[in-house]
Symmetry: C2
DNA sequence: AAAATAGTGTCTATAAGACATTATGTC
DNA sequence: GACATAATGTCTTATAGACACTATTTT
């Protein structure tokens, strides 16, 4: 690119006239499986932090929007279907030395994915994680049993979890972690797993059903030697602010 | 900077090997004056958007943390004293064409400043806004009476206001918009101005005094031909989550 | 005493939380 | 009928909101 007239630039800087930081996006992909909150990590094959696990990410190309870059990364690493996943910007991490080699500012996103196929009817198909160029492996981890993470990725993950815990309280984000149809017990499990505490079943159901965000499908799920559960769906498949 | 070995870089990119975006910080500085929420804007003297008003900002130098860059910008533009101002990251705006010349990703922050000197005792001294290199003027504007803004700055400002409105509901951020000592009426004015609606005086006081975030100083403020008001201070000068 | 702002209490409605038993299906 | 999960209601306490008058100071 040609150097351009510095006087045309805001506040007297010519962004091409001197070195400036690189920008990456990192995507914290979360899902719930087996009553645990799981995060998708990739194992690094290169320095720095070789063999460490890391949140998947990559540099932002000149001609790609931030949001688009994050969504592309997410799709590259997960077999997430064509439906629009829940993907939201989290925070931008920009300490000078967060990458030991170079100045890299990373815009972190977090994604919520429905629980991968558990053999249940209605379970969404979430493909296996996909290792990439400089990642030798990709794998889901219980956030309570993490390996050491590269860079400041432990901090990024913690911010994502805290954000999710907060949002659960005043929005219907939980929709993104469930299949289209689900039982109230499954919904309660989502809340309990993320908040890391048990909830009273009667109060939970009373509350959820009073909010006009769920509707019964009329169908039920029969699984074992016990009473079948009603299946519900969301009235809106998008996050909604709750009263 | 020397080109470095691409294999040392995450996910196979060498950030120096190709053009990449510039990064700026923009700081939405807000204060309350005369029952209006005011934002600090600078008038551009250069293209693009010459003579348009804009949120103050600048490029992030290689050797400066994001937070530090934002705080420096804030101090450059305002006469904010040595005390730590409320300054928090807001959101990162990264659409490819948000700057017509070049790819600029901006990390937006918002700052809350105590009301500038109104002649009252205890009023903090907030110096006059300071125009900078490529800004011919700097001025506080009522957010309800804005001139056309450069770039996507109207959107950035709207995100800041929405964030502030939300935070007011579940934290004690209001502390940052008042002097050390203040009356309950002043505090109520902060809430009413930001939320853009009136609140019931009795309910407001009852709520605030029940939260254990305020303490009476014992002093009072006498201003006109009417009963003087008690002065309060915050028990903690930092944002606190409310029940 | 007029003017102006500070300061106060009750009642109602709604929401949150504690708590235990019955219902319905499979095997 | 044994087993396993689904489903349900009451009471208590805390919170939010509507609502109007008295208190204190200066001029």
């Amino acid at each position: 690119m040609d150097k351009i007239d510095a006087t045309e630039l805001p506040d007297g800087y010519d962004p091409r006239a001197f070195d400036h930081p690189s920008v990456s996006v990192d995507v914290v992909a979360l899902t719930i499986r087996d009553r645990s909150l799981q995060v998708l990590l990739v194992q690094r094959s290169e320095k720095p932090y070789p063999s460490y696990w890391a949140i998947p990410g990559g540099f932002v190309p000149m001609q790609e929007d931030l949001d688009t870059a994050a969504e592309r990364k997410l799709r590259e690493k997960t077999g997430v279907g064509e439906a629009a996943p829940f993907l939201e910007q989290l925070y931008t991490f920009g300490k000078v030395n967060r990458d030991p080699r170079d100045r890299v500012i990373t815009v972190a996103y977090y994604a919520l994915l429905p629980a991968p196929d558990s053999g249940l009817p209605n379970a969404p198909s979430l493909g296996a994680p996909i290792a990439g160029a400089n990642a030798s492996d990709a794998q889901w981890f219980d956030v309570k049993e993490l390996p050491p993470l590269a860079f400041d990725h432990a901090e990024i993950l913690q911010v994502a979890i805290t954000r999710l815990q907060g949002k659960l309280g005043y929005t219907s984000v939980a929709y993104a972690l469930l299949a289209d149809e689900f039982t109230l017990t499954e919904l309660q499990t989502v809340y309990e797993t993320i908040l890391d505490r048990t909830l009273d079943k009667r109060n939970f159901r009373k509350k959820m059903l009073s909010l006009d965000i769920l509707e019964a499908t009329g169908k039920e799920r029969r699984l074992g030697a016990h009473r079948p559960a009603q299946l519900f769906r969301w009235t809106k498949r998008e996050p909604v602010f709750l009263p």
